[in-house]
């Protein structure tokens, strides 16, 4: 099974390492044609504005919407969570608009307010070390399930084949969330 990591900008290598640790093959996706060879994709952390510019320029918007419409799983972390959301608070901007959520950017403050903390993630882990870097959060999940909250803010959610975390599971060596995503991909393959 092959899982892609959108490789336009951001923490690509870390996600690829975690996919391999979770027992699947990882592919760095730079061109839309490569989407045909993978069964699921991770949209990594990075700068959402920069990734979005490059997605637009290289035809990834329509290609990823099509990918998701075929019920192939998509996992967005941090910037990825923003990119797959249907609504971004305070703007009219929608990037991919896949997941029925409303999100807030840079919601925990600037870099010096960035932090790490142990989180309980429903059905995945009771003590996951979650690293938040200039992180967003989900203000509302209109459809789907909340998987984790921090100080009453939603920081992980799933809706069917879509998964999102506000934190960076690729920055620790704990593969539990990536294993969960690999299982999701298996589920939707059959």
């Amino acid at each position: 099974m092959k899982i892609g990591v959108l490789a336009l900008q951001g923490a690509v290598a870390e996600h690829m390492r975690m996919i391999e640790m979770a027992g699947a093959e990882a592919v760095a996706i730079k061109k839309v044609e490569q989407l045909d060879e993978i069964q699921g994709i991770i949209i990594p952390g990075g700068e959402s504005t920069a990734i979005s510019k490059l997605m637009n320029k290289y035809g990834f918007i329509d290609a990823l919407i099509d990918f998701s419409n075929k019920k192939k799983p998509v996992f967005g972390t941090c910037a990825g969570l923003i990119l797959i959301a249907k609504e971004i608070n305070g703007t009219d901007t929608v990037h991919l608009g896949l997941m029925d959520t409303k999100v807030e950017r840079n919601a925990f403050g600037r870099q010096k307010e960035s932090f790490e903390v142990d989180l309980e993630i429903k059905g995945i882990a009771e003590d996951f070390r979650a690293v938040f870097i200039r992180a967003p959060y989900i203000m509302e999940v209109f459809r789907g399930e909340v998987l984790a909250t921090f100080e009453d803010k939603i920081v992980a959610a799933r809706d069917g084949h879509l998964l999102a975390t506000a934190f960076h599971p690729e920055l620790t060596l704990d593969p539990r969330i990536h294993r969960y995503f690999v299982e999701m991909v298996k589920e939707y393959q059959s």
Binding site: Q9, A11, E47, K53, N106, Q111, K112, E116, I133
Partner: protein, 294 residues
Amino acid sequence: MVEQGTTRVKRGMAEMQKGGVIMDVVNAEQAKIAEAAGAVAVMALERVPADIRAAGGVARMADPTIVEEVMKAVSIPVMAKARIGHFVEARILEAMGVDYIDESEVLTPADEVYHINKQEFTVPFVNGARDLGEALRRIGEGSSMLRTKGEPGTGNVVEAVRHMRTMMSQMRKVQGMSKDELMNEAKVLGAPYELLLYVHEHGKLPVVNFAAGGISTPADAALMMQLGADGVFVGSGIFKSENPEKFAKAIVEATTHYTDYVLMAELSKGLGNPMKGIEISTLTENEKMAKRGW
């Protein structure tokens, strides 16, 4: 327990910048151009390095008004420069909420022996390095991100190439060494042993390493990426070029698709003139910024 300013949080921030371009800007208008072009961060300055060179005199931390103006103008991270060893300038920038501090040789050093003890800060730091020993000393002091020094404000990529090639070659050498040889190598390089051991075991630095200092065209950016850079800083190269918007966009795309030569040929068409540039051999020893830092 919530922990801030951990090594993981500070280094992680730099990981998110990988594959991206960080651009020098001197006001809100330039910051917006940089953000619109797809920059992953901006460096807020009073003058770009080429103008610092031209102006001469002592170059210090930028006026906080400029840094604040830039922070208000964009949603991407904002970096700012403090003088080497000037921990008070760094504390001021930290208090202002700057996302990353560059302890930079572009400014006039405030201390000719000691760099800032960066371990003690919550805000992460980026530092310049010419070789592996310098890189590991900076990481030892708590730097969370590195960049080649290159020769800032020259528009000439030759020094950045030299520094990146030197570092990569030294890392390959260390990786191939027997463990018996590592302590002596640490002595020769002036590098902390534990960090050298990390390089020996992993074949890479424990932090992100960008290219900086003289990058002024899309091809320069792609060259540095192919030599092993994780991303690029472009200082004077964008806003000293004839067409900053076009240059900024083209450099961003070339940094992502750094092996796609057909694309880069397209990107490089009709960009107008890049910044004029300076041949390194015409600089006196005192004019070389890369020599600052120890």
